[in-house]
Amino acid sequence: MNALSQHRPLLSVQHLGKHYGPRIGCTEISFDLYPGEVMGIVGESGSGKSTLLSCMAGHLVPDAGRVVFDTALGPRDTVQMSEAERRRMARTDWAFVHQNPRDGLRMGVSAGGNVGERLMAIGARHYGAIRATAADWLGRVEIAADRIDDAPRAFSGGMQQRLQIARNLVTAPRLVFMDEPTGGLDVSVQARLLDLLRGLVRQMGLSAIIVTHDLAVVRLLADRLMVMKDGRVVETGLTDQVLDDPQHAYTQLLVSSVLQV
C-alpha cells in the first residue's frame, strides 16, 4: 500500500439521503471512514441508522448522495455501480453482519458450507483447501472443530452469531457493516462476542461501521461515534469524547438513560 492510499478515506459518504414517501429515512449524511477505523452509529429505534447502513451497503437505493468506496481500481461511487460489480464487491471487499443470524446464514447448510460459500463464490474449487480454511475460521471464532458439519440451527444464538462473523470475514474484507451484532444475546455471551470482535478488528486491521443502540458496544469497539436522531446526525466525535462530554441535548439524554448496575 502506498503512502497516498493511506491518507485516502476507505469510504466517503456524501450527502446521503433516503425518503420513504414523505417521511425521512435519513437525510444529509456525510462522513469519511479511514482504513483501520471503526465507526459507531447510535440512536434510538426509528432514528434512521439501519436505513443509513442499508444504503451504504447497497441493500437499499438511496434517493440522494454518493457512497464512494476506495476499490482496488481507485475510488468509485457504489451507488452508480452495476449490480454485478456491487455484488462482487459485497462478497470480497465488504461484509455484512446481520442482527439476526438467520438473515445472514443458510440455516440448512452445515457450518463449514456456510463459511465456505464466500470462498466458492469467488472461485475456490479445492474442497480440501476450502474445508481447512473453514475449520481455521471456526477455531478463530471459538467454535469447536467437531461442529463443522452441523447445521447452524443446532447452534446456540451466540454460536450462530459467531458463525455469521466467521462466514463474513473469511474472504478478508476491508470493510465490515454490522447491524446490532450483539442484539438478542444475553450479557455474558455479548461480552464474549465483543471481546472476539475487538480482537479480530485489531488483528486484521478491519474498518467497520457498527450500528447499535447499545452504548457499551460502541464504547468497546468504536473509535468514532455518530449520534442520529430523526434521520439526521446530531453529534459526531471521538467515542470517549461524545460519551463522556455529550454536547447535544439528545446525546445527553441517551447517555444518561443507560442503567447503572
Binding site: E83, A84, R87, R91, R106, V109, S110, G112, G113, G116, E117, R118, M120, A121, I122, R125, H126, Y127, G128, I130, R131, I148, D149
Partner: protein, 287 residues
C-alpha cells in the same frame, strides 16, 4: 391413421410457432431458460407435457419418432406418448436409435451415439438447478444474470462433507459454454459426458414450470466438481447380464425372494441390438 379432429401433432399452428420461437431463442443462448406459454396437454403434469410440446413443435410428417422412458421403449410413459403422436400426427415410429430423427426421452440419453440431424427432446420436471438452494425465483434469475453460482458448489461441498464424495447421482448440474449453469433433467450422471459435444440438437422442455432450454450441436458442457473431488460418471460395477455390455448404464432388477438380482442395460434398444449381434451375458441364454 391420423385423427382428423386434431391439427397435425395436436397443437395448433400458432402455438407451435410460439414454441419454435422459444426454441430458437434457447438455441441462440445455450443453457438459458426461455419462458414459454405452456399449454394444457391431454396428460398430467409430470408425464412429459413439456417434452410433448417440444416434440409437437418439431415434428414434420417425414419424421421417424422414438420415445423412451428410463431408456426403455416399452414402458408406460413411452408407449402412451408414442401412441399419442401416431394418432395425432400419423408419423412413423421406431425403437431403433439410429433410425429415429426425433427422440423424446425421459431420464436417459441413448447409449448408441447420436448423429447429426437428430433431435433429442428431454422431459424436465424442475428446470431451475438452484431451486432447492434458493427458493426465490426472482433471486435465482438474478443469480443466473450475474453468474453468481457460488451456491451451486455449496451443494456439492455439503455432499462431500456428509457422504465423503459427491453423492448427487442424477440431475447433476452442468455449466454450458462457460456461462449458464443448467439442470440436465434427471438423467443419471453417467450420461452427463454425452451432453457435451453431441452432434444432435438437444432440447429441454418443462411444461409445468413453463421453461424451454437447449444445447445446440457440439456445445461444450462441463459437469461441476472440485479439483480434489473430480466428476466421475458412475454406473453399477457390472456387465449387462443379457448382452455383456460393460459400457452401458445398468438397471438393477430383483429376480427372486432370495436376494437374486441381475443387471441389465437400461437402454433396451442398445441391449437388443447387441444381443441380435450375438453378444450373450451371464443370464442371456435363459432370459
Amino acid at each position: 391413421m391420423t385423427d382428423q379432429a386434431y391439427n397435425f401433432a395436436y397443437l395448433d399452428e400458432q402455438t407451435k410457432r410460439m414454441i419454435r420461437r422459444a426454441i430458437l431463442k434457447g438455441v441462440a443462448v445455450p443453457g438459458y431458460q426461455v419462458p414459454f406459454a405452456s399449454r394444457e396437454m391431454p396428460m398430467p403434469y409430470g408425464w412429459g407435457t413439456g417434452g410433448v410440446q417440444l416434440t409437437a413443435a418439431c415434428l414434420t410428417p417425414d419424421d421417424r419418432l422414438k420415445v423412451i422412458d428410463q431408456g426403455a421403449d416399452d414402458t408406460t410413459n413411452a408407449v402412451s406418448i408414442r401412441k399419442f403422436f401416431q394418432r395425432v400426427a400419423g408419423v412413423a415410429v421406431t425403437e431403433a436409435t439410429t433410425e429415429a430423427t426425433l427422440i423424446q426421452t425421459r431420464h436417459r440419453i441413448p447409449d448408441t451415439p447420436l448423429r447429426v440431424g437428430q433431435i433429442l427432446v428431454y422431459q424436465v420436471p424442475i428446470p431451475e438447478p438452484l431451486r432447492f438452494l434458493e427458493p426465490r425465483e426472482a433471486e435465482t434469475r438474478k443469480m443466473h444474470e450475474l453468474e453468481d453460482y457460488g451456491l451451486m458448489h455449496v451443494k456439492l461441498y455439503e455432499d462431500i462433507a456428509r457422504h465423503g464424495q459427491i453423492a448427487t447421482a442424477y440431475a447433476y448440474p452442468v455449466k454450458v459454454e462457460g456461462r449458464y449453469v443448467m439442470d440436465p433433467s434427471p438423467i443419471p450422471k453417467f450420461d452427463n459426458p454425452k451432453l457435451s459435444g453431441s452432434p444432435a440438437l438437444q432440447l429441454f422442455g418443462a411444461g409445468r414450470e413453463q421453461r424451454i432450454y437447449a444445447l445446440p450441436p457440439f456445445t461444450h458442457v462441463v459437469s461441476l466438481d472440485f479439483e480434489d473431488h473430480p466428476f466421475v460418471a458412475s454406473k453399477a460395477d457390472h456387465a449387462c447380464d443379457l448382452c455383456a455390455a460393460t459400457d452401458s448404464y445398468l438397471d438393477e432388477v430383483i429376480i427372486d425372494d432370495d436376494g437374486g438380482r441381475m443387471f441389465v442395460c437400461s437402454d433396451t434398444d442398445y441391449c437388443g441390438g447387441r444381443r441380435a449381434a450375438g453378444y450373450v451375458g451371464r443370464l442371456g441364454g435363459q432370459a
